[in-house]
Amino acid sequence: MAKEIERAGFTITTMCNLLNVAKSMGNNRLVQTVSVPYPLGNPQLSKEEEWKLRYHRVGVALDALTKDVEGYTVFPVKI
């Protein structure tokens, strides 16, 4: 799905858990998520910590839109 959206000309960041799958699908800009049932959160964290995590990873995904890539590129996250 992401590939077709990119093919149509949209700059796109895919946030997903299984990076290898995304790689085999031909996605280009990637940010890894926490897990499958909660990609951008974690019920075990406090509300504040969870917000920090989500805000940070979405920020990395937005940053990724501003960077040129040659192909499959994972943008590292800090939390």
Partner: protein, 347 residues
């Protein structure tokens, strides 16, 4: 011969999706699906069964591999079976990653089965013998029979033919073979060329695999004037699921108005995705579609506007063909809306 089998939490009889975080365990003998596998192979005994939850294998792959290789370190075995994984993406990924690691460490053949739409095929077909399998668990017996037949073949030392004859996905490995009727390569090439010139069918001896890649779209150095849309395959929809998007093997997508929302209200929105435990997503849908975080960045002026609608479908059991079509349709809609860039979240 002795074999060890790998199963996920479903087929290893631990439990359903609520047990997907189940950590790897080693069992003596067979349980669940490995019992049937064992009964299909007179010359192979399944001595142990490894069971691991799909989420654990997906989210802690290195750890899962490390522990499982540890279990197997002092075991004697000649074959390793993983799956069948049908069209289950996480399971296929786990069978592939673990099978590959087992093959590399212990040098034993690894046999698996996956539906052609399982992403595990593309990722691991070069490392393992992966046989084409059914779409869902109703194909269990049939797929196990195929895996077992090949296991028997290896165990009894029968000569192996090329991938297309044995039936597994082509690994891209070339073997030297002697033709029964020797024809030298130059003659075969000329014969092929003549057929091609005449427009007759011919079979290449060197198929070149095609990889469908998309040239990365250009960077947008300054987002401050841009409209960004959220797209997800995580199944977050208004709770009445107005467009009846399927919980698995989806063929439909929806777009829903979020122009008045700062976060997804609960219980007005929930996930209908049947491929993961919905608890975390239903409690806080923004864990799957980060509307709250996007609003925060919008307010800060990081980008101009979050597009008024988000797009959603369900990405479990969904074929690559359907996913591609939905992607094209969504892209067309985004174009009409004047959207500049996309953040897509997948589960």
């Amino acid at each position: 011969m002795k074999a060890i089998a790998y199963l996920n939490q479903f087929f290893g009889q631990v439990g359903g999706e609520d047990q997907a975080d189940y950590e790897p365990t080693l069992h003596e003998g067979t349980l669940g699906a490995s019992g049937l596998l064992n009964s299909l192979m007179p010359h192979v005994e399944v001595t142990h069964t490894v069971v691991c939850g799909d989420n654990f294998a997906a989210s802690h792959t290195e750890e899962a591999i490390k522990r499982i290789l540890g279990f197997l370190e002092d075991k004697e075995f000649d074959l390793f079976f993983a799956g069948p994984a049908f069209m289950a993406g996480r399971y296929g990924n786990a069978c592939g990653a673990i099978g590959k690691a087992v093959k590399e460490r212990f040098g034993v053949p690894v046999i698996s089965s996956m539906n052609e739409e399982n992403p595990g095929v593309e990722m691991y077909k070069q490392a393992l013998y992966i046989f084409p399998g059914g779409r869902k668990a109703t194909f269990m017996k049939k797929d196990l029979e195929v895996m077992a037949a090949f296991g028997e073949k290896l165990a009894t030392g029968q000569p192996l033919q090329c991938a297309s004859e044995e039936g597994y996905y082509v690994r891209g490995i070339r073997h030297e073979v002697f033709l029964e009727e020797p024809v030298m390569a130059a003659d075969r090439a000329v014969a092929m060329m003549l057929k091609k010139l005449k427009g007759e069918p011919f079979v290449s001896e060197l198929p070149i695999p095609k990889m469908d890649k998309v040239t990365p779209a250009p960077a947008i150095p300054d987002l401050s004037n841009m409209t960004i849309a959220l797209v997800t395959s995580g199944g977050i929809v208004p709770s009445d699921n107005p467009d009846r998007i399927q919980s698995a093997s989806a063929t439909k997508w929806g777009k829903y108005d979020i122009s008045e929302l700062e976060v997804f209200p609960v219980p007005d929105y929930k996930t209908i995705h049947a491929g993961y435990d919905p608890e975390a997503a239903d409690t806080v849908p923004d864990r799957v579609v980060p509307l709250d975080a996007m609003r925060a960045y919008e307010k800060e002026g990081r980008f101009k506007k979050l597009y008024d609608y988000y797009y959603v479908t369900v990405g479990t059991g969904t074929t690559q063909g359907e996913a591609a079509r939905m992607g094209r349709e969504i892209a067309e809609d985004l174009k009409k809306a004047g959207v500049d860039a996309v953040i897509l979240t997948a589960t």
